[in-house]
């Protein structure tokens, strides 16, 4: 049931997907990464960017399963987390000197990669024999089991406190002490590019291609002499490995990991980020990861009700942009180059205006309600206009834009329908 979740959308395979040259997007990525330090950003922005880079690698690794191989997993954070724990212990061993003393911290993600692959190989061996719903549910069970077991072994997982380490140990490489966040930025940037390139290359290998084939039609794959379960297993190992690489990056950036990192919640979060970005496009998860990381860390600065907005945003994305942001961007790009663009421009403008009105109505309603319920005695006052929950002005400010937005959207749909 779940296997055909992605394959149904796949009937409309993007004709450009196969031909798109990787040079341009990779060039843009590298150029952006090189330009960012020149902007002289604050440490918090750099920290956020580092988290974005980690999430990008993690989301891409998840999409190896969800998008490419059609495997819905609820336990991908297990590989991220296990690798993260190992890497933090490794940091400790490096600090102690001895056999690991000469291991450069810069190469920690390589260790994470290996641990992720190992974990994927062990856990994937029984679970990859199944696909679809049983696979998804096994992954859910595994995630809960691993988290439950982790709480019992304090020496490995540090109990509630987690495991922490110091990244300024071992031999320095490329003159990076990895102390200040500016230097960690270079570390994360390097591994983000390496991870993206690695996973892009993987998608071009026979195994990568085969995984897409097994997603679309497992029976056919079997006819031509491959075992779909084996293909799934191999892809699973690689996906675990790249997740582990992201875990290694996170170990250096945060210098701490707790058991929460391998539980169900981050697994769900990465599923959301990947899907919101768009599973059909290689770069979709990258977009999703950046957006979700930003929203998670910054939306709360603007509103107490940020989770509500997040929920509404998910719902809207699934309803109106089922191919994710990447799909929406690609659609807009296609429209801009098509002959239709003059005809569609007013529709688009109406839609944007309508969406703007609806957003305003939503914000007024939620913020006024939130202030009323939290009981701090504050009043919602956008642009200096106080809007208490019991004032008629508030109701007008909520209802009028909602009605206007609805009318605009309806009008846009009518125009579109009459013209096609």
């Amino acid at each position: 049931m779940i296997a055909d979740a992605t394959s149904r959308a796949d009937m409309r395979l993007d004709p450009e997907a196969g031909r798109a040259s990787p040079v341009l997007p990779f060039g843009v990525l590298v150029a952006v990464l090189l330009l960012i330090p020149a902007l002289d950003l604050s440490r918090s922005t750099l920290t956020l960017l580092n988290h974005c880079g980690i999430a990008m690698v993690f989301a891409l690794s998840y999409n190896m399963l969800l998008g490419k191989a059609g495997m819905l997993s609820f336990g991908h954070a297990v590989y991220f987390g296990l690798a993260g724990f190992f890497c933090l212990h490794l940091l400790g061993w490096i600090g102690e000197g001895g056999a690991f003393g000469s291991f450069p911290v810069f190469f920690l993600p390589v260790a994470g990669f290996a641990v992720g692959a190992l974990a994927g190989a062990v856990i994937g061996w029984p679970s990859c024999r199944r696909s679809g719903t049983p696979f998804a549910m096994i992954s859910l069970g595994v995630a809960e089991l691993v988290a439950a077991l982790a709480y019992m072994f304090d020496s490995a997982f540090g109990g509630e406190m987690g495991v922490s380490g110091d990244r300024m140990v071992g031999p320095e490489l490329l003159g990076l002490s990895l102390g200040p966040v500016q230097e960690v930025y270079w570390f994360v940037a390097f591994w983000t590019v390496a991870g993206c390139a690695g996973m892009h290359a993987f998608s071009r290998t026979p195994l990568g291609r085969l995984s897409e084939a097994a997603r679309d039609n497992a029976q056919r794959v079997q006819y031509v002499g491959y075992d779909p379960a084996r293909v799934r297993y191999l892809v699973f190992i690689f996906a675990g490995a790249f997740a582990g690489m992201a875990g290694g990056m996170a170990a250096v950036q945060d210098e701490i990991i707790t058991i929460d990192a391998l539980s169900l919640a981050p697994s769900g979060a990465i599923l959301i980020a990947t899907f919101v970005g768009g599973v059909r496009h290689f770069w979709g998860p990258v977009l999703g990861a950046v957006l979700m990381t930003w929203m998670e860390s910054n939306l709360s600065d603007y509103s107490e009700a940020w989770l509500l907005y997040l929920g509404v945003a998910f719902i809207l994305v699934v309803i109106y942009a089922p191919e994710g942001l990447a799909g929406a961007v690609a659609g807009a790009w296609r429209l801009a180059r098509s002959a239709d663009r003059a005809r569609m421009a007013p529709v688009l403008a109406l839609r944007l205006a309508g969406a703007g009105c609806m957003t305003a109505a939503l914000v007024v309603t939620v913020e006024a309600a939130m202030r009323w319920s939290s009981g701090h005695g504050e009043t919602f006052a956008p642009l200096g206009v106080p809007l208490p929950h019991d004032a008629p002005a508030t109701w007008i400010a909520a209802v009028v834009p909602a009605a206007a937005g609805l009318a605009l959207l309806r009008r846009a749909r009518r125009i579109e329908e009459t013209r096609t």
Binding site: M1, I2, A3, D4, A5, T6, R8, A9, L66, L72, P126, S127, R129, R130, G132, T133, P134, A136, M137, I138, L140, G141, V142, E144, L145, A148, L149, M152, F153, D154, S155, L264, G268, L271, I272, F275, V276, V279, A305, L307, L308, L310, G311, V312, A313, F314, I315, V317, V318, I319, P322, V366, A369, M370, S373, S374
Partner: protein, 310 residues
């Protein structure tokens, strides 16, 4: 002796509660294929609505009204939300329900506040029914037994003895064929989703005052309901019932056992001095359902009594 009686009694009640929580999901998940992560949120809504209705009138009105309200809400969600997403596949539906979790949870906080509400067991049922080995057996627990049994019976009757039930059961196995036979499949889906949510709401009415009614109650229910549904087998209400009871008994039994790994594996030289040796069977009790789920699905992907794999 008392250990066995308590384990059986508590296992039965816990199993029935689990079944109440997951029966709605069995319908929704196995029929529509929707991994409804918002199921627990509907459960929470049931508890909160029951609290409000019970404050305004009586618990008995709430017992009836709250599930109906939750069911209507569920139907609205299906009609104006889920249905639009359906064509985009099951992962899209799943994500839709993820979004719904945030929306419902935040709305509950806005409407009912951020801390627990004082939703109590009705006075009529707030007395010890009997005393067993020194511990009271509250009447409300017996009431849970009755409600769960009534719900199970009603579901069985509707599914097996009515025309609507026949259509639903047919749609569970062959949705396309049912559509071809001229039944309004979207309408069936909407009512199934509504009934499923109403069942979650009913579980909330009962669970809300047995446990705690606070904004965290949905998150705390966690993925256990999925375990029950999948373990029992998709499309099988009987399977879900068996899985719920099995988990109920196993967990309760594990709690009653005072062994640690050191006792069990003493022959292998495991001692209390090691981390592994200190793990007690009781502390493993909540991991048991998930272990069971993984093992069963590896051996038998259709679950204990499921008719099909996906």
């Amino acid at each position: 002796m008392d250990v066995i009686v308590f384990a059986l009694l508590n296992g039965t009640i816990y199993g029935l509660l689990l079944f109440m929580m997951s029966s709605g999901l069995t319908l929704i998940f196995s029929m529509m294929g929707v991994l409804n992560f918002a199921h627990a949120s509907f459960y929470m809504l049931g508890a909160y609505l029951a609290y409000t209705v019970a404050e305004a009138s009586t618990f008995w009105a709430a017992l009836f009204l709250a599930p109906v309200l939750v069911g209507l809400l569920g139907m609205a969600v299906e009609r104006w939300g889920l249905r639009k997403v359906h064509a985009n596949g099951h992962v899209a539906e799943l994500l839709f329900t993820f979004g719904l979790v945030y929306v419902i949870d935040e709305l509950v906080k806005i409407v009912w506040g951020r801390t627990a509400v004082n939703y109590r067991v009705p006075e009529e049922l707030n007395f010890p029914l009997m005393t067993l080995f020194g511990a009271d057996f509250p009447a409300y627990r017996a009431f849970i037994l009755v409600v769960a049994a009534a719900m199970l019976g009603a579901l069985w009757f509707i599914l097996n003895r009515t025309r609507a039930g026949t259509v639903i059961r047919a749609a569970l196995v062959e949705p396309d064929m049912v559509g071809c036979l001229g039944h309004n499949v979207p309408a069936i889906f909407m009512s199934v989703f509504g009934i499923g949510c109403a069942l979650a709401g009913l579980a909330g009415v009962i669970g809300g005052n047995t446990f705690i009614t606070d904004p965290a109650m949905a998150a705390q229910m966690g993925p256990i309901v999925f375990v029950v549904v999948v373990l029992g087998g998709l499309g099988s209400l009987a399977g879900a019932f068996m899985a719920a009871m099995l988990i109920g008994y196993l967990q309760t039994a594990a709690i009653s056992i005072d062994w640690s790994m050191a006792d069990i594996f003493a022959a292998a030289g495991v001692t209390e001095a090691t981390e592994f040796g200190r793990i007690s069977v009781a502390s493993l009790s909540t991991a048991i359902p998930f272990l069971l789920l993984v093992l069963v699905l590896i051996a038998r992907p259709s679950g204990l009594m499921g008719a099909r794999e996906s």
